[in-house]
């Protein structure tokens, strides 16, 4: 009997295929949004976790400003300089100190060009950030101290400028600077936020400061802890050193921030969960609108089919059977919308995962949840029209039209 009713409902729905589809569009969009967001969210936190693991837990980051993102708008904070780097190197808790300054720039070789980011740092950067030189060499001490115009290419930049050819020994132009390529890096792929990590050029920090940005500022440090040193202890010592160097009074707050990888990861995933929450709200509204759409169309359908309902009642259908029929129709309609939404959501999540190079992690729980939710929308918004159909008076209904 139930299967019979479902079959009848499917028949009624397919008879008006276009209208049915438009009716469930709200449910489709809502469910697709939920599925896509949750799947993408899960994939990217998985990616962040594995990235952080690959970076190792012994890396710290030091930035000016008291907030995570760097100096706030109203904050004027002294920038770091290379003298801070020298002071940090004195700390026994650190095994590597990589000062970093970034500058967006276009690199040109022959007819090819590549707009990328030039990262000025030291050889330590390769260790701290886990880079491997695939071919060529790192910076020599002389190149570092003099700020020589030499560079190491990331894989993406190499591909854009040289294709698969070996760039070492060639000269490229970055802005107005001619720069000798001394090596290139092993590819890393996409990073935590889906960015292309291989889209960079490394130069000695003094070269970037003098030739590209024209200042002696260091925008941040990447630091490696010495073996056996905890992130907490490292953080404490760095903070003490920096407070002293920046002459921060006892009663003043830090104007810099030391972050370990766990903090960075949680910052990234919290951005993620805010996004997910926001989109879930959108999805909920969309489901509500979808539900109202279903209620509306079911009410229209009850009016249109008044005579049919009269016939069914007259030949012996009970009120309950008519109620069931219309309720099942609403549920089938919205579950159908849910199924389309699930497929669409996974398609979107799959495409996004490809694009952002994060793992595609479909979960069965979310499918079940979307299924139940769309069914619930059908029950809630289908009940009122179904009850109206069941309460029709058979004689009146037969007289309709």
């Amino acid at each position: 009997m139930l299967w019979e009713t479902v079959r009848l409902a499917l028949l009624a729905i397919t008879r008006n295929a276009l209208r049915s589809f438009l009716t469930v569009l709200g449910v489709v969009i809502g469910v697709a949004a939920v599925i896509a967001m949750v799947t993408i969210g899960q994939g990217s936190s998985e990616q962040v976790t594995s990235d952080v693991e690959s970076l190792g837990s012994d890396v710290l980051m030091l930035r000016p400003g008291s907030s995570f993102g760097g100096p706030g708008v109203s904050e004027t904070v002294a920038e770091f300089t290379l003298r801070d780097a020298d002071a940090l190197r004195e700390l026994s808790v650190l095994s590597a100190v990589a000062p970093v300054v970034n500058s967006p720039a276009t690199a040109v070789y022959g007819n090819a060009n590549s707009s990328t980011t030039v990262t000025g740092s030291s050889n330590d950067y390769l260790d701290v950030a886990n880079w491997t030189i695939l071919r060529g060499r790192g910076f020599s001490p002389a190149e570092e101290s003099s700020g020589a115009a030499v560079c190491i290419l990331g894989e993406s930049v190499r591909q854009e400028l040289f294709g698969n050819a070996d760039p070492t020994g060639e000269t490229i132009r970055i802005k107005t600077v001619s720069c000798d390529v001394i090596g290139y890096l092993e590819a890393k792929g996409a990073g935590m936020m889906g960015q292309d990590q291989d889209d960079l050029i490394l130069m000695p920090i003094r070269a970037v400061q003098r030739r590209l940005v024209g200042s002696t500022d260091v925008s941040s440090f990447q630091l490696a802890l010495a073996p056996g040193v905890s992130a907490d202890r490292g953080t404490r010592e760095i903070e003490a050193l920096m407070r002293e160097r920046r002459r921060i009074q006892i009663d003043e707050a830090d104007d810099f921030r030391v972050m370990d990888m766990a903090q960075i990861a949680s910052m990234l995933t919290s951005v993620n969960s805010v996004l997910t929450g926001l989109l879930s709200a959108v999805a909920a509204v969309s489901l509500l609108v979808g539900g109202i759409g279903i209620m509306n169309i079911m009410l229209v359908s009850v009016t249109e089919r008044t005579r049919e309902i009269g016939i069914r009642l007259a030949i012996g259908a009970t009120a309950r059977q008519v109620l069931t029929q219309f309720l099942v129709e609403a549920i089938v309609l919205s579950v159908l919308g849910g199924v389309i939404g699930i497929l669409l959501g996974f398609a979107i999540a799959f495409a996004a995962a490809r694009l952002m190079a994060i793992p595609f992690t479909p979960s069965i729980e979310i499918v079940g949840l979307a299924f139940v939710f769309s069914g619930l929308v059908g029950v809630v918004f289908g009940y009122f029209p179904a009850r109206r159909a069941a309460r029709l008076d058979p004689i009146e209904a037969l007289r309709h039209q």
Binding site: M1, I315, G316, A319
Partner: protein, 239 residues
Amino acid sequence: MGEETTGPLIALRDVSRVYGEGEAEVRALDGVDLTIGEGEFIAIMGPSGSGKSTAMNIIGCLDRPTGGSYLFHDVEVGRLDRDQRAILRREYLGFVFQGFNLLPRSTALENVELPLIYKGVPPAERAARARSALEKVGLAGREHHQPSQLSGGQQQRVAIARAIVDNPMVLLADEPTGNLDTHRSREIMELLVALNRDDGITIIMVTHEEDMAEYAHRIVLFVDGRVQSEDYRPAEREG
């Protein structure tokens, strides 16, 4: 509803049906007394607005009297609720409505199966019984036609097949030949006569046409919501 019944199949006693209230009050039925026995073939006639359809709706348990008593098989229908009447309809009664009232987008077979669906008859048995009902009304081979692909007379036969598919005790037909020409009307009447004679189905039919009423055992004349006369016919009649 046991088999041991003492009273007649259908007994209306001083039945009234009032629509509206006060100024707008309409007494569609105003003290109807009517007794119908099992196996009878009754024709109800009367001018338009005399209450024929109202009486049919009450006899068919679609409606309840506002006054008086209606006993169907000794059961007081006025005291049954909606669903109890629905069950009574599907167990004992078959309807042929004025203007067919078939589901337009369903095939003849699906239309005839409909009452069985609500009784919970399994699909295979349902289809078989619907087929044999269609065969009985002379529509074998038209199972998969939709109403729009059938003539008026054929649609009326589908409606009759739907009414008899569950072997009802009583067949109610409100102007079953209203939309048909004389030839088709006679075919329908002969079908009803056969159902009455061969299957023992009690038939109650409303008609405007003298010629069609001739087929019945008894002609009941309604005027102004009352039974004005009852005219018994000689039972002998061969189509």
